[in-house]
Symmetry: C2
Subunit: 141 residues, 2 copies
DNA sequence: CCTTTATTGATAACGGTTCTCAATAGTAAC
DNA sequence: GTTACTATTGAGAACCGTTATCAATAAAGG
């Protein structure tokens, strides 16, 4: 039995992490790491870009925030509020407005399709892109 | 009226394009541009990497082949055979085996969700990932 | 053939993301 | 408060898939 007890430190909370969370809470659309870094800078919250990348990734892993890939393949993050469970997104490709949606319909469908084909441990990611009412209006003057 | 007739050349078929198609026809899973380039090399079909990227992209635009993004964000291509219309994929994340699936269920659901929220010009991409029967068997010895 | 110009390919450039590693700063123990 | 430990940070390099460059090549049509 060693004199030194085993260490128990698991996690440390830092100024940078709170800053990133603060920005996330103020968003109602998905944003990239770089955009979030820019928003931090604008708020005079100095956080290194690498830290932003790392922190967002970690938060997404823990499912504290949501992550999606834009059409162009960029990773985007958002804190989807109230909602703690499995859900999907309806995203305006013009302004980024994001609406959280859920429905047993696709859940059932994907499960059925997977089962019919002998697949197990299935996961899916369904995000719908379109033009929101507002943006539609703007483009037709 | 000009002396020179207007040119009508739209497209030229090349050795490289046929080579790429040849490889595509031999696949039953999605492959990246780099993988396809490697397969070409293995077959002693010399095609530049840039050409592979360009050609796959062009074919995907014309919807002659299918394109998806892997979980890691890499662009993958496949010739999905017989099927010319809108469809989805059930993909084994172990071996890449890909099964083409369709169903009005999600089509209706996405349309409904979009309409309910005032979105127009909606598009969706639904790919389901899981473990196929074969790979499941292998992992349980 | 000859002309026109789409296509190719080696390579550089690009953009998002991850890695490196020394400096910084939470945390628990003293 | 001080100390010891080490998670976390940050500036920049490295990475990796992809796209842009641009001179050389080679289809298509006459
Ligand atoms: Mn779902
Ligand atoms: Mn569909
Ligand atoms: Zn919008
Ligand atoms: Zn499999």
């Amino acid at each position: 039995m060693p004199l030194k007890e085993e260490k128990k430190i698991v996690e440390r909370s830092t100024r940078q992490q709170s800053a990133i969370l603060e920005v996330l809470y103020g968003l109602d659309e998905f944003r990239s790491a770089q955009e979030i870094h820019a928003l931090l800078t604008k708020k005079n919250l100095k956080v290194g870009l690498a830290t932003v990348y790392r922190t967002l990734q970690k938060m997404a892993e823990k499912e504290d925030i949501d992550a999606i890939k834009s059409i162009e393949g960029e990773r985007l993050y958002r804190h989807c509020g109230q909602n703690d469970g499995h859900h999907h997104h309806l995203i305006c490709s013009k302004c980024g407005l994001t609406i959280t949606v859920e429905g047993p319909a696709i859940e059932n469908w994907t499960d059925k399709v997977a089962k019919e084909n002998g697949f197990s441990e299935v996961s899916h990611k369904v995000d719908i892109y379109g033009i929101c009412k507002n943006c539609k209006k703007k483009s037709k003057p």
